[in-house]
């Protein structure tokens, strides 16, 4: 299994920010068995494009046999994610520690 890739987007994940995040995530979707953690604690805003990027990354990385998890969403981001039903699609953990544990478990499988 690969090392855990840890990404912490800071600021606004509007359409422009979402593009920047996708530039980082897209290569990981092309590689097999990646383990990726996105810490959202410093993301002040999450747009629909930001959500799409997370969903797309999750799907791509899973298809490659890897695991993609997100952690540390603020209450306002959880509201947005839940409103769109994307909490059922993304693997979301309240803390970085819980998210890392989930990735470690994946490696053991």
């Amino acid at each position: 299994m690969s090392e855990i890739v840890f990404l912490k987007p800071t600021g606004r994940l509007d359409a422009l920010g979402a593009r920047g995040l996708w530039e980082e995530l897209e290569p990981l979707t092309q590689m097999p068995q990646r383990r990726v953690l996105v810490d959202m604690s410093q993301a002040r805003y999450l747009s629909s494009e930001g959500l799409r990027v997370l969903v797309r990354a999750s799907k791509g990385i899973k298809q490659g046999g890897g695991k993609f998890v997100v952690c540390c969403l603020s209450a306002r981001l959880i509201e947005i994610v839940t409103m769109a039903g994307i909490d059922r699609v993304l693997e979301i953990y309240p803390t970085e520690r819980a998210a890392r544990q989930a990735l470690e478990t994946h490696a053991a499988l």
């Binding site: 606004r12 359409a15 422009l16 805003y45 629909s48 494009e49 990027v53 999750s58 306002r76 509201e79």
Partner: protein, 140 residues
């Protein structure tokens, strides 16, 4: 006596200007004493509406003109976004980002979905000058 406040912003259709739109609406929200939740909702609805204009009416062009008007009183906040881009019907926007979405229902037209969830009224129309997006949120 009820006071109606008016706010205006004009920008070009560069995604980098979304940050200015955010600053604009946060200033409006502060001056109109919106709650934190109302502020979050109006901020996102406007961001999604302006993003649609930039990406669909102007197709990614950065020099298109976008005018935003906000009218707010004690009862409601009204937003109008005007552009001079190509006609577009946000209800039929296909999201090119996801080839095969995990959930077609929630991913397709997600921006418009959020606008409708977050605001009380959302209308799209067009006149001789271009597209018009209008949204209203009740404050009481």
């Amino acid at each position: 006596m009820s006071t109606t406040k008016l706010f205006f912003l004009e920008i070009t259709s560069d995604l980098a200007n979304l940050a200015r739109v955010s600053d604009f609406i946060l200033d409006v929200a502060k001056q109109a004493h919106l709650t934190e939740k109302q502020t979050d909702h109006v901020q996102m609805a406007l961001d999604e509406a302006v993003t649609n204009v930039m990406e669909h009416a102007y197709g990614g062009r950065r020099d298109g003109r976008i005018r935003i008007k906000c009218r707010v009183d004690e009862r409601e906040l009204f937003l109008e976004i005007r552009d001079q881009g190509e006609p577009f019907d946000p209800r039929t926007i296909k999201q090119p980002d996801l080839k095969k979405p995990l959930s077609e229902r929630t991913i397709g037209g997600l921006g418009v979905f959020f606008m409708r969830q977050l605001m009380d009224k959302v209308e799209f129309s067009r006149d001789a000058a271009g597209n018009i997006t209008r949204m209203t949120k009740k404050l009481k």
